[in-house]
């Protein structure tokens, strides 16, 4: 809420250390988790491999919803990494919140619009890249006039709204969740024991719900990413 941002300027770029550290942490957790789950894969899966295969199948299912055929195959890995990262990033702020002095160093990286916009930009730039690669630049531009030329401005506008809705939906959900967590924490400390016990209960309920929201938002983000990707790969 009132925390100052630990901002460092370096080479003309400004770095918010809270984002960077928690992003790195989320990356490390994802890498550690999947490496732990994928040791010695075999045709007869063990417990760990089963978990990983379930996750992979789940993400494959998301991709298949919008790209059922062979075409979606090259996005399986990307969708998997994206899903795991956003999921971990969403949950990170619920389990970990590190403040040093007034500065906040670890939180959900997805509660910052810069991060979600980076991810959305990555996805949408990839969709444009694959669109041009498949159709060639001319056809790619002509696709904006489909189904009729009248819709061209709306089609162009849609590219920006896609970007904004994709990033801000994720940001808004996670940011609101964290704000409410902090508010409930403040409430817990406001009247001693009288507010601590109901506050703790409320906090637990809200944390559980935030886990749910975080999972749903990761699912929604990957689903929409794949929808935008498939839109660029097919002609109406």
């Amino acid at each position: 809420m009132d925390e100052k941002l630990p901002i460092v300027n370096f080479g003309g770029l400004s770095f918010n250390l809270a984002n960077d550290i928690s992003g790195l942490l989320a990356c490390l957790i994802v890498i550690g988790l999947v490496l732990y789950l994928s040791r010695k894969p075999s045709l007869r899966p063990g417990k760990r491999q089963n978990v990983l295969e379930w996750l992979i199948d789940f993400v494959h299912g998301i991709v298949k919803q919008s790209m059922p055929g062979e075409e979606g195959r090259k996005f399986y890995g990307f969708a998997f990494v994206l899903f795991m990262f956003i999921f971990m990033a969403n949950q990170l702020g619920l389990i970990l919140e590190i403040n040093v002095g007034d500065y906040n160093f670890v939180k959900s990286p997805t509660s910052d619009p810069v991060v979600t916009m980076t991810l959305a930009a990555l996805v949408l730039l990839m969709s444009h890249y694959f669109g041009i690669k498949k159709w060639g630049f001319g056809t790619y531009l002509k696709n904006y006039t489909r189904p009729i030329a009248l819709l061209t401005p709306i089609n162009i506008l849609e590219e920006f709204t896609n970007f904004l809705t994709l990033s801000l939906r994720l940001y808004g959900n996670i940011y609101a969740g964290e704000i409410l967590l902090k508010l409930i924490a403040q409430f817990m400390g406001s009247f001693g024991v009288v507010s601590f016990i109901p506050g703790a209960l409320l906090e637990m309920v809200w944390q559980a719900f935030s886990v749910f929201i975080g999972s749903i938002q990761a699912y929604v983000f990957v689903t929409l990413s794949m929808v935008y990707m498939s839109k660029k790969l097919e002609q109406e």
Binding site: F15, N16, S42, L43, P45
Partner: protein, 171 residues
């Protein structure tokens, strides 16, 4: 441009960091975890498909074999019936043959025996006739004490005995 939506600050460095982080994470996760497991999953899918195909194949083969065996069994049964019938038939003909042969043999034997008996009777009759003739002549020659020529009287005696034989033969 260092302000973004809702007055949140735009940290350009974060974008770069996140891009790099994502690419590194992508590379590591894909290379060391996702690719091997996905490969295993594809391999398992292939194996299951292959096994199912193999099972289907084997079942079809087993069905074919069963059908073939059934038809062969039917053939064999028919053949067995044929063989038994043939055996019966040939046994019957053989039996008929043996019986008829035996009958004809018996006929033969019987007729031979009859012929023999007839012969024996005729022989016995002839020899008896001779003996009677001889005896009659001897008796007669004793009675009349006169030498009778057997040859001269033979025709007479024979005519007697002929008469005797006729009354005897009718019996």
């Amino acid at each position: 441009m260092d302000k973004l939506v809702f007055g949140a600050a735009l940290q350009t460095g974060d974008m770069l960091i996140y891009l790099i982080l994502f690419v590194i994470m992508f590379a590591i996760v894909i290379k060391f975890a996702y690719a091997p497991v996905a490969k295993i999953m594809a391999k398992r899918e292939d194996k299951i498909n292959g096994d199912l195909d193999y099972a289907e194949d084997t079942r079809k083969k087993a069905d074919d074999l069963a059908a073939k065996r059934n038809s062969e069994l039917k053939n064999t049964r028919a053949e067995a019936t044929q063989i038994v019938q043939n055996a019966q038939k040939s046994g019957e003909t053989q039996r008929d043959q043996i019986v008829s042969q035996a009958q004809s043999e018996a006929q033969q034997l019987k007729s031979n025996a009859q012929k023999d008996a007839e012969q024996a009777r005729v022989d016995a009759l002839a020899s008896a006739r001779d003996d009677v003739a001889q005896l009659s002549i001897q008796i007669a020659s004793k009675l009349i004490s006169k030498e009778l020529n057997a040859d001269d009287q033979k025709a007479l005696i024979d005519s007697y005995i002929e008469g005797l034989g006729d009354t005897n033969g009718s019996r």
